[in-house]
Symmetry: none
Subunit: 230 residues, 2 copies
DNA sequence: CCCAAAATTAAGTTTGAATTAAGCTCCCCC
DNA sequence: GGGGGAGCTTAATTCAAACTTAATTTTGGG
């Protein structure tokens, strides 16, 4: 999952970068509004955290231009507590959620998790769960048949990406672009290796490969494709 | 479905080529306006993605000449965000849709899907559906009588082509030209084999053979050729 | 600075979708 | 009604994609 933080206050940005990095996100950081306008639209971010008080170009303006250009990426805005009206303006301009500064880092984490679920049509569930697999985002582990299985950072973020895209084929290229920043080789087999590890830990059936197309997260459907009880 | 990408920025073109390839399109790429002018009109593309800032000959000029020459292929233009007026010029010159750079590859995919449906008179439907067959483009599978049937990449792109041409006869040669790039043998029986596979999975009636003419996608009309209730 | 764990690269193997090929069937036309 | 061509079907082939294991590099903690 790739995130962009647009925040000019260095100390805060630093902290967020570290926090979100630990949570298994690939995070980029920009401090300038003009840079953000361009990069936010060109790199395939899954979510953007946007401070409204920015040099270069005001955050609200950046957001409006993104939306005018058709950018659909979820945006969470940060506003100072004493600029009350900005939140309304922000939502009008197309923000999906907001947080007033100062805030607790955990609060941001939860908002991000929730916003990502919502953006992928999983608004109803409070944690990522599908086909007998429960993802524990705090412990970066998985509960499967009541048993807890710990994942490495790479396995965790790969699985999370797949679980956020249920019922759709995710190409290897898409995974490379959304799990890694900037440029990783197109012909690396990292994804295949981690898929292999996940299958060892969770069982072969969890991730289905569609040759020439990509991977499909299936949960643990045992022959009952509807997911309904029989 | 054969697409032409006309884009001089190599890294972007590379990525689009890979992305659209995964989505089951046969994609050609040109970087020069003069080449595009010729090839876009001579090869049977189903859609053209045209960057307006091109070496050789400006994209707008290429588009105008295509339209003047009677080319009806849907064209989606790519414009730089800061060349706002170009979009209007582009639409006037005969473009069918536009996207401002930068953009996310996923966004382009959606636009292409939508534009293809629109160009084939299916503007009203949000997903390809006919005669009890629903095509799920994200999953590259089909829902038939509420049951999901998975398709291979080749089966998927063949079925998609047929579903985009409902109630019309599609010749085998046409299929060869539109599903494969450049030159595949004229006397290969690939199409027949894949049609056979699709019939096995979806039932004989789905694809009707019109001897010496081609194939006709029928959905699943079970003896009631009008599609009306009896 | 060193060590262990994790991530990635690399190399060799397996797999299965796509294509070719070959023989059969069904139609159409004489 | 039978000859020929178009289309169907099954089986064999092929070759790149995906898998697996092991080696190497990177990372982070002590």
């Amino acid at each position: 999952m790739r995130l962009l933080i647009v925040e000019d206050q260095v100390s805060l940005a630093d902290e967020l970068l570290a926090d979100l990095g630990c949570a298994g996100y690939a995070v980029d950081w920009l401090a300038d509004g003009r840079d953000a306008l361009y990069q936010g639209a060109s790199e395939p971010y899954d979510l953007i955290v946007l401070d409204l008080g920015l040099p270069g170009k005001p955050g609200l303006e950046v957001l409006r231009e993104w939306r005018a250009g058709g950018l659909a990426t979820p945006v969470l805005i940060l506003t100072a507590r004493d600029h009350w009206a900005e939140r309304i303006e922000g939502l009008k301009a197309g923000a999906d959620d907001y947080l007033t500064k100062p805030f607790h880092p955990e609060e941001l984490q939860l908002r991000i998790q929730s916003l990502l679920r919502r953006a992928h049509g999983l608004a109803n569930q409070t944690r990522l769960e599908a086909g007998g697999v429960q993802l524990d985002e705090r412990k970066q582990s998985v509960i499967h048949n009541g048993k807890e299985i710990t994942l490495t950072a790479a396995e965790f973020s790969l699985l999370r990406y797949l679980m956020l895209h249920p019922q759709q084929i995710v190409s290897k290229l898409q995974l490379l672009e959304h799990l890694y920043d900037g440029e990783t080789e197109r012909d690396s087999n990292v994804i295949e290796v981690h898929v292999n590890h996940l299958r060892r830990k969770l069982g072969k059936a969890v991730i289905e490969t569609r040759r020439n197309q990509g991977y499909l997260f299936n949960g643990l459907q045992t022959g009952n494709a509807t997911g309904l009880a029989l």
